[in-house]
């Protein structure tokens, strides 16, 4: 229940503070183009997230391993996975709708129209995701598509090419339908756009996708296990033993004095090996922030900074994960100086947060000027220091630290965004 409510509550707290950055309110109220544009972006985001969630549910879920020895009916299983994925990610949709709530304070009608667009993106991601991922299993094995897959695969195994590009295909098809819906939303709110009926395009596309799902499920469900085993086998063959031992930024700790080096290496290795997706996710968020900052608008650095702040709140939680993942016997049998450990963890978390910062700063420097980039760099670095500090102090409470970290870091985010918003 908490994991369901937490993103919605977090967005509810942050939305009033950060919405001016995205909605650009003026004395005349919200601009219709900006409002429909926000609904389009949120629709895209929901579609992309659902595309990835459907991939995980269908192909990489641990349930596949449990069910594999048994003759489960693929169509029944697909229906179950669809309902489960929808339920598990409903909070994402609700969070998106809450994020747009400031629009409702001015016009409930506009909020409802934008909500249809975002819901359309979420629905398209869900309903397109399953058939496209099932289709990707067929494509992976299809002799007719082998030439195309060979061209697309890069350094991956040929079969993997189909699976890698499937989420992008979901986003492409879902994204066009969301664009059509947001254009229709603009015309409904009072601007120039497509016919209002186009607001239903994502739902129509979803309906079409549902109709082909059963046949694809029967064809591809069991084959997916085989395709995944081939792909994993191919990667396992390439795996170098040294690769597993390489640790991101370990070189920074190697020359430190012994008392610091031991703890630093432990934190860096533990984080990289057990929480790598958090660290890599930081760079991915940084890429999204860079895209937001890649604009001629003088406010682009503020938008990029706001997004980067939100991203750092997420990535900064790694401090608590680090502490709570550590076996308690290790902490008690190898007691460390708490002050030194906190200092090291603070520095390590701050270093990991650089992934969120560097790319948007670079983007703003290239598209605007050095002054805007310096503004962004100073603001994000100060924010990173604050988040690392809150993370490290919260980590002393182990997993209970989330209760302290989430509200405090969100409050810092909201207030500091308010501070830089003109």
């Amino acid at each position: 229940m908490l994991s369901f409510a937490m993103p919605i509550l977090a967005v509810a707290v942050a939305a009033p503070f950060v919405s001016p950055v995205f909605l650009g309110a003026s004395e005349q109220g919200y601009n219709a183009t900006v409002v429909s544009g926000l609904s389009m972006r949120l629709g895209w985001l929901a579609c992309a997230a659902m595309s990835l969630h459907t991939y995980t549910a269908l192909l990489r879920d641990k349930e596949r391993k449990v069910l594999d020895p048994h003759p489960a009916q693929p169509t029944n299983l697909l229906a179950y996975l669809l309902i489960r994925t929808a339920y598990e990610n409903l909070s994402l949709l609700l969070a998106g709708l809450v994020f747009m709530w400031p629009i409702a304070t001015e016009s409930m009608e506009s909020w409802l129209i934008c909500s249809i667009v975002v819901t359309g993106g979420w629905t398209a991601g869900l309903f397109l995701g399953f058939p496209i991922h099932l289709g990707s299993v067929w494509a992976a094995e299809s002799p007719r598509l082998s030439g195309l897959m060979e061209m697309l695969r890069g350094s991956n195994p040929r079969m993997h090419a189909a699976l890698i590009y499937a989420p992008g295909l979901v986003l492409a098809v879902g994204g066009v339908s969301v664009w059509a819906a947001s254009s229709a939303a603009l015309s409904l709110i009072g601007g120039p756009g497509l016919h209002p009926a186009f607001i239903l395009v994502p739902f129509a596309v979803s309906g079409l996708a549902v109709s082909i799902m059963p046949a694809l499920a029967k064809k591809s469900h069991f084959r997916a296990t085989l395709v995944l085993a081939e792909i994993d086998g191919w990667y396992a063959q390439l795996e170098q033993p040294d690769e597993e031992r390489l640790v991101y930024m370990e070189w920074l700790a190697v020359r430190l004095p012994y008392s610091l080096k031991e703890i630093s290496l432990r934190e860096l290795r533990h984080g990289w090996r057990s929480l790598r997706s958090w660290i890599n996710g930081g760079w991915l968020i940084g890429f999204v922030c860079a895209a937001a900052g890649w604009s001629d608008s003088p406010d682009a650095w503020i938008v990029a900074g706001t997004l980067a702040g939100g991203g750092m709140v997420v990535v900064g939680g790694i401090a608590i994960k680090l502490a709570s993942n550590n076996p308690s016997w290790l902490e008690s049998s190898l007691p460390l100086n708490l002050r030194v450990q906190s200092l090291v963890r603070f520095v390590v978390v701050w270093l990991w947060l650089q992934g969120v910062i560097l790319l948007p700063v670079l983007a703003v420097w290239v598209r605007q000027d050095l002054v805007a980039a310096i503004h962004l760099a100073v603001w994000t670095e100060l924010f990173a220091l604050a988040i690392a500090l809150v993370g490290v102090y919260s980590s002393r409470l182990l997993s209970r630290g989330w209760g302290l970290y989430v509200p405090v870091s969100l409050a810092i985010w909201a207030m500091s965004v308010k501070g830089i918003t003109p």
């Binding site: 594999d68 029967k218 296990t225 085989l226």
Partner: protein, 237 residues
Amino acid sequence: MSAIIIKNLEKRYGRVVAVDGIDLKVEPGELVAFIGPNGAGKSTTLKMLTGQLIPTSGAIELGGVDVLLEPGRAREKMGYVPEEPALYDYLTAREFLEFVVSVRGEGDIESALEFTQLGEDADRLIREYSQGMKRKTALAAAVVSKPEVLILDEALNGLDPPSAVRVKRYLRSMCDSGTAVILSTHVLDTAERIADRVVMISSGKIVADVCAEELHGQTLEQVFLERIGQTDERSSS
């Protein structure tokens, strides 16, 4: 009709040959032990047999069904316990078996539970189970619907001695009622005691396929070392 037919089965990973042209037939009611050193290709063969891995070449039929062309029907005919069984941690063993029966459409939960002797533990959450109890649950799930073919990948590992004895007896009784069983193991004693036939695999090839009566006073260990030694010599020469 044979319960299992494997024809010229091969699996390559790049230059590495994991399984190298295996031919094997198992008849209904036969219990075949599949033995070999670590990395010999036992699990790879069983994974191909159960439709978890695509063979590089060759054909597999299970109860007359092509495993690759009709994976759903092949699963209806088999019960399978993988080397590392996956279960639902937040179900009890009884609930898990009820689930498996609902998926398979038929089954006798009580007799499967009786054979594994989980007793009162059958109503505890699987996440609280020891490794051996999890394996027993996976075994019960594999036999609950009385499959035509039972495939066990190192399934006796982690069982306490009384349970292992009971499982061996149960397997024997299943064979008597017509089920074909393939059991991979590295415990030669187990293979010698319960199997009708012992198939030895080394470096992806079958190096011996002997019936219990063909041992001519030799122990399985002697035959095993002799055959494995021979292949090692061949490959080194």
